[in-house]
Symmetry: C2
């Protein structure tokens, strides 16, 4: 191409010398070819038109057996991050990518992880009998071989510690109000081993911290609800962001590392030891408690019969010994270079490490990622190349990552290390070049499709699920099922920090999507999260895997191939309006929200203008320099609008969180799962004077209003 276009002499020569017949003929022929080529190129430049074929090709390549095979392979052995079997999955994914002919590589980081060396628990009952708990899960034949390699139940980053003959006491969810209730009954937990039930919005770290504040010497945490009664829920109890030794920067080999003794590091680990407990084991102890009667308001919500909360008479011997180790973790990437815009990135991400076999969490998602890779490489062999670069990301050590803070109604798991380190390392390039991040963690944990997104991606998401068959109802699209289930738009927002999208949205301001099948699953973080459970309960036909892979891939193809990005900020504006209404009902005129209303209105009209411009430019198919750069400029504005919501100063006291619309509130019981700065201001000022309270909340309202103004001017792309 380039050569052809840069040959000027022909016409100039022609214009100077009077041409002879043969020359004229040749000249005409050349021009015919040229003219046709030009028009053809200009009219239907392949990259612009392949998009539709690509979508068809991708959907037609769907198979369930490949997915089940990938999942089987990934879940043969438990693969806890930093262990040998985990390294095996690293190579498995890397080989899969390379064997498909994709450009793949792994990026290693040094991270501080935590493993158990010994644990024991026994109860001494008032009748003199003693019971020693095995603290292990007999998963039977069902859970695949290599069960011996399942890590014993523990809480990552718990300090080692022993308690002998300590009285057991039940503290419900271990929330402040629970301890107030106990205090009201004259129950003092200091010196006791606290038994708490997981839930109530409190992450493990917060439960342990509050128990320590109340003088407890150790914590036993069981997970109620619809669980396998013999399962122990593993998890982390660390606070803070990413690798504890490299807070705020990437823990690359040879990079800066804080010492374990550094306050900033040690401050993130709990002060007292803790262990998970199975429902069965918890019941044995709880039934044997005497002392104060269980408050009725607790009892109603309880799934176990607990008549008394103690303390005692049952005594507990508790022992946990663990070690913290700096180990290598590996993120694996496959890169499909874009043809026209190689320096614009569409990222698909899923974490690979698991507490045990990880059939649901996270390898149902990994299987989908691997199948998308297979289908993309098929398409490439038939000549397809994306317009923009597609990056498939397989993250490591997600499970060891941390809840910086309690966040969601269903605080499921902790926030990962691998993706955080990578985002920190690539912040500038992501900030200037990332189009979107599409996250899938537990792809399939049961029936029902759930999705979360930054709102400019709502429309695309709904359009895409119109194109994918519903796995659970013959002949229906996912959209039809979804619509019948959700009267109104039920897309979640991404203020949570419970999966890999957190760093992308809340630190880098990258438009993102997160999705999964099933609200929850009973084998969560237990040895029972195995391939057998998946084929017996989770997704016997693997149709749900097919569905998630389909949606995931189509989203990627649209974002990578559409000449104009399929972003729609009108839905973002509407969402912001709804958020504002919720806030104003909550605050009831305490402060003025007019700065917010004004900025949202302005944002809404900018969104409309952008939508009109988008429609106009979509129709322009020429590839003249002017049009090409016009489209690029509009696309960039659509990308950068999300960055506008970032504030360089970040959230008060938690500067790593830069996004003022979506991020975790530091108060687990906060009523807001958006505007985290305002949410914090509200809970921070509960005990302050009205004037102080007003001033602090009003200031945070202003900050959010200014963030929305930044997004507006980024979307308009005009300097004032």
């Amino acid at each position: 191409m380039a050569q052809l276009w840069s040959k000027p002499p022909v016409p100039t020569a022609a214009s100077t010398k009077p041409p002879r017949p043969l020359y004229t003929f040749l000249f005409i022929v050349i021009l015919c070819i040229l003219g046709f080529y030009t028009l053809h190129y200009a009219h239907s430049a392949p990259p612009l038109s392949t998009s539709q074929n690509a979508l068809r090709l991708f959907l037609s390549a769907a198979t369930n057996f490949t997915l089940s095979a990938y999942l089987r392979d990934l879940t043969l052995h438990p693969h806890l991050a930093g262990t040998k079997p985990s390294l095996r999955t690293t190579h498995y994914v890397l080989n899969h990518f390379t064997s498909l002919g994709l450009r793949a590589h792994a990026v290693a980081y040094d991270a501080l992880l935590s493993y158990p060396t010994h644990s024991s628990l026994s109860a001494h009952f008032s009748n003199g009998t003693e019971l020693v708990f095995p603290l292990s899960e007999s998963t039977g034949s069902g859970s695949g071989n290599g069960n011996d390699a399942v890590v014993r139940p523990y809480h990552a980053y718990s300090p080692s510690g022993t308690a002998r003959g300590a009285m057991a006491v039940f503290v419900n969810f271990g929330r402040e109000e629970d301890y107030r209730a106990l205090g009201g009954m004259g129950v003092n937990v200091s010196g006791c081993v606290v038994i708490a039930r997981k839930g109530g919005g409190l992450p493990r770290a917060a439960v342990v911290e509050r128990a320590a504040l109340n003088g407890a010497v150790a914590v036993l945490l069981y997970t109620g609800g619809d669980r396998f009664r013999k399962g122990f829920e593993r998890g982390t109890v660390m606070r803070g962001l990413g690798d504890p030794l490299s807070p705020g920067w990437a823990g690359v080999e040879g990079g800066e590392k804080l010492g374990l003794g550094d306050d900033e590091v040690s401050g993130r680990f709990p002060k007292i030891p803790s262990l998970p407990l199975s429902v069965d084991d918890a019941e044995v102890i709880l039934e044997s408690l005497g002392g104060a009667p269980t408050p009725s308001e607790w009892r109603d919500a309880l799934d176990l019969k607990v008549d008394h909360v103690g303390p005692g008479p049952t005594l507990v011997d508790f022992d946990y010994q663990g070690e913290k180790k700096v180990v290598k973790i590996h993120n694996v990437f496959a890169v499909i270079k874009g043809l026209e815009e190689p320096e614009r990135y569409v990222l698909l991400g899923n974490h690979r490490d698991a507490w045990t076999y990880g059939a649901v969490d996270p390898n149902s998602g990994t299987a989908a990622l691997l199948d998308i890779a297979r289908r993309f490489s098929l398409m490439m062999r038939s000549g397809w190349r994306p317009r923009r670069t597609i990056v498939l990301c397989s993250w490591d050590a997600e499970e060891f990552g941390m809840m910086s803070n309690p966040v969601t109604k269903s605080e499921k798991k902790s926030w990962e290390i691998g993706s955080t380190e990578w985002v920190e390392q690539n912040l500038v390039n992501l900030g200037s070049k990332a189009v979107a991040y599409l996250n899938v963690d537990c792809a399939v944990q049961g029936p029902g499709f759930f999705a979360g997104a930054t709102p400019q991606l709502d429309n695309l998401l709904l359009e895409v699920i119109k194109k994918v068959e519903d796995p659970d109802s013959e002949g229906e699209t996912m959209y039809q099922k979804w619509a019948s289930r959700n009267s109104e738009n039920n897309i979640e927002r991404l203020g949570r920090v419970d999966s890999d999208f957190a760093a992308f949205v809340q630190h880098a301001g990258v438009p993102s999507v997160d999705m999964y099948y099933g609200a929850d699953f009973p084998t969560y973080h237990t040895a029972f999260d195995s391939y057998d459970w998946m084929i017996n309960y989770g997704d016997p036909s693997f149709k749900r895997h097919v569905a998630v892979a389909g949606v995931w891939g189509l989203l990627a193809l649209h974002l990578a191939d559409d000449p104009i990005l399929p972003f729609n900020y009108i839905s973002y504006a509407e969402q912001l309006k709804r958020h504002k209404e919720v806030l104003s009902n909550l605050l009831g005129g305490l402060v003025s929200l007019s700065p917010l209303s004004t900025s949202i209105q302005d944002f809404a009209s900018a969104a409309k203008e952008a939508e009109i411009e988008t429609q106009k430019l979509r129709e322009q198919e020429t590839t003249s320099e002017l049009v090409v750069l016009k489209k690029r400029a509009l696309n960039d504005r659509l990308i950068f609008a999300e960055r506008g919501f970032l504030d360089t100063d970040g959230l008060e006291g938690r500067r790593w969180f830069k996004h003022l619309i979506y991020g975790p509130s530091s108060d687990p019981e906060s009523k807001l799962d958006f505007f985290p700065g305002i949410a914090d201001a509200i809970s921070r000022t509960t005990r302050m004077s009205l004037s102080q309270k007003k001033a602090i909340i009003q200031h945070e309202v202003w900050r959010v209003a200014r963030a929305i103004q930044r997004a507006t001017s980024a979307l308009r792309g005009e300097l004032t």
Copy 2:
């Protein structure tokens, strides 16, 4: 164009029906036109080739009389920010732009400024005589009419205050070491009116603050050196950033404003009042002092004869009354929209407000800006349009802005409000779209060309001054004169905060240039800074004005028109190496600088790669979509590399400063005018234990190393 290109039927139709002779002929004609047009367009697209003509056209349009006329008009009346005459200059500049047919507009902000209402000073000598100082400058006929309107000498934001019969005492520069010396002689300044000499790296605010800490009740500040002995140097004594009522955000109308009572606001004003003093008046008091003899090390550096430092016997009556007012300030813009890349901005900026007539400071620069506007509009009438958008910025209220901190050897003036507010308001768009900011404050204050730049602009700057005649030596280019004066590269760096480039470089990470003729001038901030001084001393022939306007405009044209941006990061790498050497000599092995060496090496090789790529792409003249996007991508990397030096957390305790290579150190006596975070760590830890000292400095070294890594990956544009 677009229409023409998107007409496909012609050839396809031709391929289906056998054409009749006439049709064939028509078809051929159409194709000839098409083909020729295509090739012509592809080969010499006007915008790509105008660049050279544009440069010639611009240089040929140079005149000195336009410049002198503009300066004369601007300096007819004193135009202190927020006053009526200042509003007149706003309209003058706005009308100038619009009358030239340029798209122009003004952006208003509400800012808290400060004006004097009353001031008086008298001295009572030991011989019983009294002297009342007029505290005004009789500038004679020379200073233009309307002299009555010159604001009386004062320090902006000084609190009102009175001192009666207080003993006068001399404290040299008012540095800590000066007070130590006085203490050593048993001299106690508490209750006294302190007389200090400006200089020693201390900004006014710091002089007043230290005097207050030592118990002084008021401060009289005179400026020694080569000054008009009757001149009073006005200036600000506020600390902090931008408008004090909107710290860190834009003080737009109806936006958030802190109250005057807010600690964050009041904390930025001095605790005791102060006034400027002329050298003549200072001498009268200083000569009359008794008490302790003047330390010899002070005396050597003094330009006045001061035998004793006091206190007394001379007594002083001091009275200053002022008011702080929220007033409107106006930034004025002319926008020349780019043809191919309208959403890439090249910004030229100068402030407009002055303490008095502002012939040097700043309107010698304003005259140059207005003349560049004239010459650009001439070029536009002859068909020229820049490739990228050029924005001419005329800032307001620079003089009221503040020294956040002492900075340079020659801390001349304070940092401005107008540009800071605007940068804060446009942060996202500037971050993603600003190519460069070119600043000129005092264009001409005397002989000799001085320039500062972020290092990737060094080469362009040197290339450009090769094209401009030297105003002071017939037949020589500015480069020849410059080279003869500077053995090695003497381009300053932009870590200072004494003009409008500060917010662009240190907050937004925009590559910038600053330049001026003359090292210093004797009428600085006095009523003598008038048109007459300029035509009698500063630049009688206005050739220096012509030279500055020439360099300024050529820089802008290259940055706006060159298809590949004329950035060269190799010189940035070399500069960083030199900085590192200076640092290592200073620290002498106290901490390890190897993280720095490693990152600088990597940056250097990335710079070489980028340079090679640049050369390659410069040769590709086609405008195919692929090449167009390739060039855009490279240009973006060249722009974003500078952003990489920003750290989202900013400097410790001064988060507004995001740039880790160039920014002000908080220690006026710091040996480093780069790596401000490291400079702060060094001065912050002087009294700490060696281990603490090492740890804190080492951490800051790591932060700088990571910033350089970010710049490297931005320059490479690759994700890890």
